[in-house]
């Protein structure tokens, strides 16, 4: 039995369905992320786990216990809020001690526990300061310390790194991963940043318009997206659509307009004529001036119409004679070099069957 069971949960606000019949099973000790664009329902779902909102339908069970009718203060669940929500009229120590006081921890145990929590987040010595005197990253850590001090069963994090700048965010991401390993508590993390989700999580649930599109490990979400939305939302992806020409032997051939037949690996066979999409990551495409010496499974020629220099890599947008646009990514290994090709260059692109992933419509 999973630690946290979300069973057919729905939540409606008037005409708007924020969460639509969502079922998830989150295991103990997992770093589980709810990923999706704003408005997809991930924060609403998180609030229902915390107890600040109640589902209109479905059940939420923690350790087998139904959480319905249990107010937030009675749940062994703690939240790290997006705005940190540190009490401005209490010191750092006061903030961290607060949940201990509320759960009636004996007075003599409070001080050592607070000190231990401060050590855990590497903020020893900051106890007497007030939240207004701290930097964003420090407030972040106090919020985490406060949430963890009573050893909750589940820790909920609502886009905690959204307000930090890029460098700090990366540092905090590593800290979060290490913290979760050390403490061993189940984390349920909400974010709209897919890079973050891929970096931090054991498993990701990609959400869109109140529904879960796919639940899987990060590598599977990236490499084998099961819907167009997931393929498009995570990283860059070419979505080549068309009717299926034939399928068999683990290979499906799709007739892509402006490109021709594209052969892609598929786990099961698909009926001919049905619409399908080939999800092809730009970095999997070999792009060069000449076609490869050995004929490859898939290939086409085209002209570079645009390019985007991103420092370590450059993204080339290529137009095929048939009118299809394809994006290919190439690393800029030689320093000082921003690109291999210019706009207007003729190029040859090729990729193996296993590079693409088939998504049935």
């Amino acid at each position: 039995m999973a630690l946290l069971e979300i069973d057919g949960v729905s939540r409606r606000f008037g005409d708007f369905t924020a969460v639509d019949n969502v079922s998830l099973a989150i295991e103990a000790g997992e770093f589980f992320t709810l990923l999706g664009p704003s408005g997809c329902g991930k924060t609403t779902l998180l609030r229902m786990i915390a107890g600040f909102d109640a589902p209109d339908g479905g059940r939420i069970r923690l350790d087998g216990l139904d959480l319905v009718d249990k107010p937030p203060e009675t749940r062994p669940v703690r939240t790290v809020f997006q705005s940190y929500a540190l009490f401005p009229h209490m010191t750092v120590e006061g903030n961290i001690a607060f949940p201990l006081k509320m759960t009636k921890t004996p007075a003599r145990d409070i001080a050592p526990k607070v000190a231990a929590a401060l050590e855990d987040v590497r903020l020893q010595g900051f106890g007497a300061r007030y939240p207004q005197e701290l930097s964003g990253g420090q407030k972040q850590r106090v919020a985490i310390a406060r949430a963890l001090v009573t050893h909750p069963t589940v820790l909920l994090l609502d886009e905690p790194l959204a307000a930090l700048d890029a460098k700090l965010r990366e540092e905090m991401q590593l800290e979060l991963i290490n913290l979760q390993k050390e403490v061993g508590i189940t984390f349920v993390y909400v974010t709209h940043d897919q890079t973050e989700a891929l970096a931090l999580s054991h498993r990701i649930a990609v959400m869109n318009k109140g529904r879960v599109e796919q639940v899987d490990e990060p590598s599977k979400i990236y490499g084998f997206p099961t819907t167009r939305f997931v393929a498009d939302f995570i990283g860059h992806c070419n979505l080549l659509s068309g009717p299926v020409r034939d399928s068999g032997n683990g290979i499906v051939t799709v007739d892509v307009a402006g490109l021709g037949p594209v052969r892609v690996a598929a786990s099961s066979s698909v009926a001919t004529g049905r619409p399908g999409t080939v999800a092809l990551r730009p970095e999997k495409i070999r792009i060069a001036r000449e076609a490869p010496a050995e004929a490859s499974a898939n290939g086409c020629a085209g002209t570079v119409s645009d390019l985007l220099y991103m420092g370590d890599v450059t993204m080339y947008k290529v137009d095929t004679p048939g009118g299809q646009k394809v994006e290919a990514l190439l690393a800029n290994s030689a320093s000082g070099r921003t690109k291999f090709f210019e706009v207007g260059d003729a190029v040859e692109m090729s990729w193996p069957v296993a590079a693409g992933h088939f998504i049935a419509e």
């Binding site: 109640a54 209109d56 009718d69 107010p71």
Partner: protein, 298 residues
């Protein structure tokens, strides 16, 4: 979906104030409505509700009196007129003040606002009394004015105990109520709009009349409501500063309750006044909502 403890919490918090106001505001109002249908007691006040024959002693006599005797309608009209004049004068005086404060630098605004509000927090009677002094026959103003009039061969005009005194004091007392909502509105105006207008060739007066004033209308309506409605029911000012002709509806109500002691009739007058006040407040709120502004805090 509300849990039971949350519903209990809601009643625990809203219950006591609700109960208090029902008992000491809603109930008295209802009793007053009932009183308007009763007969005056022999020594004033109200006659017993249950008559000698055991039936309820209710009638429309007082209402009939109000609607047939035109003098009361006249007094109501006079009160409306005074309230209207007060509102317009307040608007004229308050606008420059509000405009100045809204256009001042941020560090001065709170102070300037405080200066406008402070007189309001002094006792109401003191403010009325102050005008008694200023308009008194011995004071400089009256002697000056009458001196000028005498030079032209006119009779001396008493400034005190006149409609003029009542009006001046009404404006004086209600001025802060007009300044505040106007200021709240003007503060939000975008200076860029005026700069653009000036760029397009509008002079100062045009900029004011065609841009600033129309945009400030929600504030004007709010201020008008905050001045007109209380001014309608005022009685202390005519009582202290007014002449015998300056009785307003508030004075008549006071008279009915404390001197003539015809309570049912006084109740009728009060109810008519309440209906007028509430309708105007509702109108102001509706206009305020339509113009996208906030009429009065609620």
């Amino acid at each position: 979906m509300k849990r039971a403890p949350e519903r209990l919490g809601k009643w625990l918090v809203s219950g006591p104030p609700l109960a208090y106001l029902v008992v000491f505001f809603a109930l008295p109002t209802l009793i007053m409505v009932l009183a308007s249908f009763r007969t005056p007691g022999d020594f004033g006040g109200l006659a017993p509700l249950v008559g000698e024959d055991g039936g309820l002693d209710l009638n429309l006599d007082s209402y009939a009196r109000f609607f047939t005797d035109s003098i009361y309608a006249e007094i109501f009209l006079k009160s409306f007129w005074y309230a209207l004049l007060t509102t317009l004068l307040c608007l004229t005086l308050a606008y420059p003040l509000a405009l100045l404060i809204a256009r001042s630098g941020k560090q001065y605004r709170d102070l300037l606002l405080l200066l406008v509000i402070l007189p309001f927090w002094s006792n109401f009677l003191i403010r009325v009394y102050a005008w008694m002094i200023i308009l008194g026959p011995q004071a400089a103003l009256a002697r000056g004015v009458n001196g000028v009039l005498a030079a032209f061969g006119h009779e001396p005009v008493p400034l005190l105990f006149s409609s003029f005194a009542v009006l001046v004091c009404l404006v004086y007392v209600h001025l802060p109520f007009m300044v505040l909502p106007l200021y709240a509105n003007l503060e939000k105006h975008d200076q860029a709009l005026l700069d653009a207008a000036q760029d397009l060739g509008a002079n100062a007066w045009q900029r004011f009349w065609r841009i600033t004033f129309p945009l400030s209308l929600p504030g004007v309506y709010a201020g008008a409501a905050l001045v007109f409605i209380p001014a309608l029911g005022i009685f202390a000012i005519p009582d202290i500063l007014g002449g015998p002709d300056d009785s307003l509806i508030g004075n008549v109500i006071k008279q009915q309750f404390l001197e003539t002691r015809d309570w049912p009739f006084g109740s009728v007058l009060s109810i008519v006044l309440t209906v007028a006040a509430v309708s105007l407040a509702a109108l102001a709120a509706w206009v305020g909502r339509r113009s996208g502004g906030r009429a009065f805090g609620a």
